[in-house]
Each structure stands twice: as C-alpha cells, then as structure tokens.
Amino acid sequence: MKRQVRSKGIAGIVTLLSLALVLVGLLYDSPSKAAKVTLSALVWEGYTDKSFTKVFEEKYGAEVKGTYVGGMDEFFAKVKAGGASAYDLVALSSNLPKRMIDADLVEPVNLKNIPNYNDIFEFFRNLEYNKKDGNVYGVNYTWGPDPVTYRTDVFDSCPSWDIFKDPKYKGKLSVPGEDNTAVYQAGILLGYNPYSMDKGKLEEAKKLLVEWRPQIRAFWSTAGELTNLIANKEVVASISWPLITSDLKKQGVPVAECIPDPATSGWIDQWMVVKGTKNKDMAEKWINFAISPEGQVAVHRVTTYFVVNPNAAALMTPEEKVFTHIDDPNYIVEASKKIMWWEPVQNEDEYNEVRQAFKTAQ
C-alpha cells in the first residue's frame, strides 16, 4: 500500500514538473513569434555590446546576438565548423582576413548597402589585405598600436628599446606574456618582417629576447594586471595598450605612451560577412551602422579602441577626440609608418615556442 502511494507521488511530481516546463516554454516563446531577423556574430569582446545593439534593434528591428571569442584561434575554427548556419558576421583582426578569404569562408560586401564606407579614413579604404579581385571583403572598424607605456617620473621622454638591455632597468620592465607581441617586437628590431620569420630568424629573435629576460619583472596577461604593475612602481615601462595608459592617467599615475623607433606591432579589426548567410542585407545594414558616427563612438566608449570614421568626432567629448586623434586624418598615416600591422603567421606554433622559451629562460 505504502509503495503504491509513493509511486503515485512520484508520478504526480513528474506530471507537475512537465506542466511547469511546458508553461515556461510557452511564456518564453510567445513574445518572439513575429518573423524577426536575428544576426549572429562572432566577435572580439565588446563589439556587440548591448548599449548599441539595442539602438540597432530599435532602428532596424533585427536583434544582434554576439558570441565573444576567448582568443584569436576561435574565429577560424568556429566559422569553419559552423559556417553560415552558425554565424552571419565576424569581427576579427588584420591577421585573419586573408585566411578567411582564401578558405572561402566569407563573401564580398556590397558597398552600395554600406554608404558610410565612403566616410572612413582614406587610409583604411586603400588597404589591400582584406580585398580580393577588386572586391571588398572586410570593412575596417577599429584599430590600435602596441605602444610602450612609461612612467614620466623615471623617463623624461620616450625611452628607446635599449632599456631592455640596460642594467639600470634590470627587473623593472614588462611585456605581454600571453600573446606573441614580444616576439614580433624582436623581429622588428632585427629588421625582419616580424610575421614571416622562419626557424633561423626566430632563433635570432629568441636570442635577443633571452637577453631581455633579466629586465622583466613580470609578464602581464590582462590590462588590469599591467595597470597595477605600473601604478605600484613594480614596472617603469612596458609594451602595452593605449587603454592601459588611459586608465593609469585617470588614476593620476604619471605616465605617457609612445612608439619608440623604429616601430611596434599593431592591429586593425574589421567586419566580414560569412559566406552563404541568409541575412546578408541585414548584415550589411549592421556593418553600415557599426561604422556610422553613432556606432563608432559607442564602440570606442565600450573598448577605448581607436575608430575609423572621422565623422564620429561630432559626437565625441573633447577628451575622446584627443585620445583617438579622430580630428587628424594624418595621424593614422603617420602612425602606420611606425606600426607593423598584424599579418597572418603561418608557423604560429614556432612563434609560441620562442615566446615560451623566453618566458622560461633562466
């Protein structure tokens, strides 16, 4: 008797639970019944921030769902695995477009649907790396250098790369530890194309980096980490990001940033349309919105990256204008003479090994 009661009780609970599930399902589904376009995008963090996807949704009625990648590797792997059934759009850095185009994973955009393209700095429109056969595949969105941030109470002016060998700064400098920026920098200083070094050149780069090793107080991995290192005077100069300099200045730490001769590495990001998407029109509307003055200011406020559309200046605060150099079309031209933009690296595993050897050298 008792047993029966118990199994009845279980049956009751199961029925209740399924009813509850059905209810939740109904509630969840009902508001989005209207045939609405949803754009899926695979992007760097911040590129589909709610603060501006909301604005786009109000204007065009399409929701933009962004998946943030944890690292560079995910773009190629995920688009290749999922294709247009998984993503309509990608926003990635200058080392990947060529590979995406060659692998036939993206399709050219129709510039007629992206009128704002004509407003972006001429410099970007003239770049070749995201075009093929006269077609534009990538629409530039943001950019930034990997500059040197230094304490102005230690250095009077932009330090030279020699500080990485000067015993005076032993244990007082830093470089990023989780990407290959330091290896690229070594390549630049050796006079090579930093993105196409073969084994022999990489060996030279490794030698140079091992000489740098005593200078390194700590390798940094997040912007917050380096900000703390410099603010606490553990580190007096480091290969860095503009965001870090800006954060330190806000904290009142005496710092400045520069690109020491001859050059540093840097990146340009772009939007691309995944091949075969059913929402191409809407995807192009999104790209047009992303490079509109409104979209550009919004992404700058989320990420602090430099942007490509000078018309965004009208919507910026004076501080933002100074920080992004948006008023000066020549700035990007001059800066790019001292920036080696990220390019695809074929033998990335060998680069990684050089970085790890540098990190673990005694």
Binding site: E178, D179, T360
Partner: protein, 284 residues
C-alpha cells in the same frame, strides 16, 4: 518494488551522468586530442606521437613539467611542516577556543583564492607592507624585489592557499586518537617525543597522506598563483597548457602536456600511498 526501483534509478542517474560527462567524456577527449596534430588553425585528426616526442625533446616542456612537480613537492612539505603543528596545537593544546580556531582555518577557504593571492601582492610588493616595514626599521636601503614575482612568492602563496586541506584531515585523525593510547605509551616509559613519533604520527598518517595528496594535486595543477605572483621564474606547466589552449591554438600539444602531467602525478601519488601504507602498517 517498482516504485523503489524508479527512485533508485533517478538517484543514481545524476552521479552517473556527472561522471560520464565530466570525467570519462572529458578525459577521453583529452586523451584523443593528445594523439592528434595541429597545423595552423586546424586539428588534424590522424594518429601521431609527435606531441609526446616534442614534450620529451624540448626542454621548455619537460623541464617545466619537472619544475612544476618540484614546486608541488616543496609546497606539500611546507604545508606539512607548518600545518601539522597547527592541527596538533588545535587538537591537544586548545580547550576553550578549539572550534573558533578551526573556524579560522576553514574561514580562509570562504574567501576566493584569487582575492587571497591579490592580498599577498599587497603584502609582498615593492611598496608592500613587508618592504615598507623593513625600510622603516632600516634593515634595508632599497625595497627587496625577491619578495614578489619570484619562486619564493609562488611557493609561499600556494602553501598558504592550500594548507587548510592538510590541517583539517590531520586534525580529524588527531581527534580520533583515544587518550588511553597516549597514557599507555607514557606508562610504558616512552617520552613525549617517542610517543609522538611512534604512536601519534603513525596513527595520523592516513590524514597526512590525504592532506599532502590534496595540497600536491592542487598546487601542481595551479596556474593562477604563478600568473599573479610567480613572475618570470614562477612559470608552471599549467601556464603553458593554458596558453597552448588559448591564443596559441595548440590544443593537441596542450592535451598531451596535460596527459603527461596527469600520469606523472597519478604515479607519484600511487607510490607515495604505497610507501605510506607500508610504513604505517595499514592498507589505505
């Protein structure tokens, strides 16, 4: 009977699902990947021993793995040397505040390990508490840089992070020892030291082993402390695996490194348990 059977299945379904998905499935994926290869951004799904050859011929990998195990052993020894006396003190020398002290030991686990590691940065930093104090009393003229971003800092932080995992099981074993045993030992003419070494310590050995196992396994697999306070000297294999899986997109090599570490750690734990079992005369 039917009802009970249903209950039983529901009950065991959860742990079985848990074990299959999170343990067996995850480890199988790791195992398979370690025998595959990566070229540029694609995983080549063909059997190869390339990753293992690379690990055992590249000093970067095998040296870091051995260094990591060395750090794990050092941390375990320090945790034992510092933690055992604490457990002993709480168990035998405390009467009124026993529970309060135990609470203090457990309480540090309530605070995220990340926060505790950051707290150590404030204590050990160039402008940190210790350096400021030493400068103030005039022992040093310049801040000591060895305190932070060094192997010293790494071992200190790992020891303090995981020491509670040793104190608690050792304390539990100490509590269980009947007073009569100690009385008998003294009656038979043993001094304090002999009583400790011949009676108390062997009886707490299962707790010691459990504690050391936890501390060792936790610290060998750690990469956060290395990242935060280890500096250039303190890079562990966990950091390398992390970056192989991250920006480097070298999942297969990362998986192989992980597998080698898992096998080595399992082997060390197996041997240490066997030795301990023989020494204490009981099977654990």
């Amino acid at each position: 009977m039917k009802g009970r059977r249903l209950e039983f299945f529901i009950l065991i379904a959860i742990p079985i699902l848990w074990i299959t998905v999170l343990e067996i499935f995850a480890y199988s994926v790791l195992l398979i990947h370690s025998f595959w290869d990566t070229q540029y951004l694609t995983v080549i799904k063909e059997f190869t021993l390339k990753n293992f050859v690379k690990i055992f011929t590249t000093p970067l990998y095998y040296k870091t793995i051995f260094k990591t195990i060395g750090i794990g052993i050092t941390v375990s020894i320090f945790a034992l040397l510092l933690g055992y006396p604490v457990a002993f003190f709480i168990a035998y020398r405390m009467k009124r505040y026993k529970n309060l002290l135990l609470l203090f030991v457990v309480m540090q686990l309530w605070i995220s390990y990340l926060v505790r590691a950051y707290a150590w940065k404030i204590v050990l930093g160039t402008n940190g508490v210790i350096n400021q104090f030493l400068l103030f009393i005039g022992v040093i003229d310049e801040p000591l840089s060895i305190l932070l971003y060094s192997q010293f800092a790494l071992i200190l932080v790992l020891t303090m992070a995981f020491i509670a995992f040793l104190i608690i099981p050792v304390y539990a074993m100490l509590e269980k020892i009947p007073q009569e045993f100690l009385q008998a030992s003294y009656d038979l003419g043993a001094g304090r030291f002999t009583t400790f070494w011949r009676v108390i310590f062997p009886l707490t050995l299962p707790g010691v082993i459990a504690g050391i196992t936890s501390v060792f396994a936790l610290s060998v697999g750690d990469f956060v402390a290395a990242l935060l306070v280890g500096g250039p000297e303190g890079i562990m294999i966990g950091n390398i695996v992390w970056s192989l899986f991250g920006s480097a997109f070298q999942w297969t090599l990362g998986a192989a490194n992980g597998l080698v570490l898992i096998i080595l750690v399992a082997f060390i734990l197996y041997v240490s348990e066997k030795i301990a079992a023989r020494y204490s005369g009981m099977e654990i």
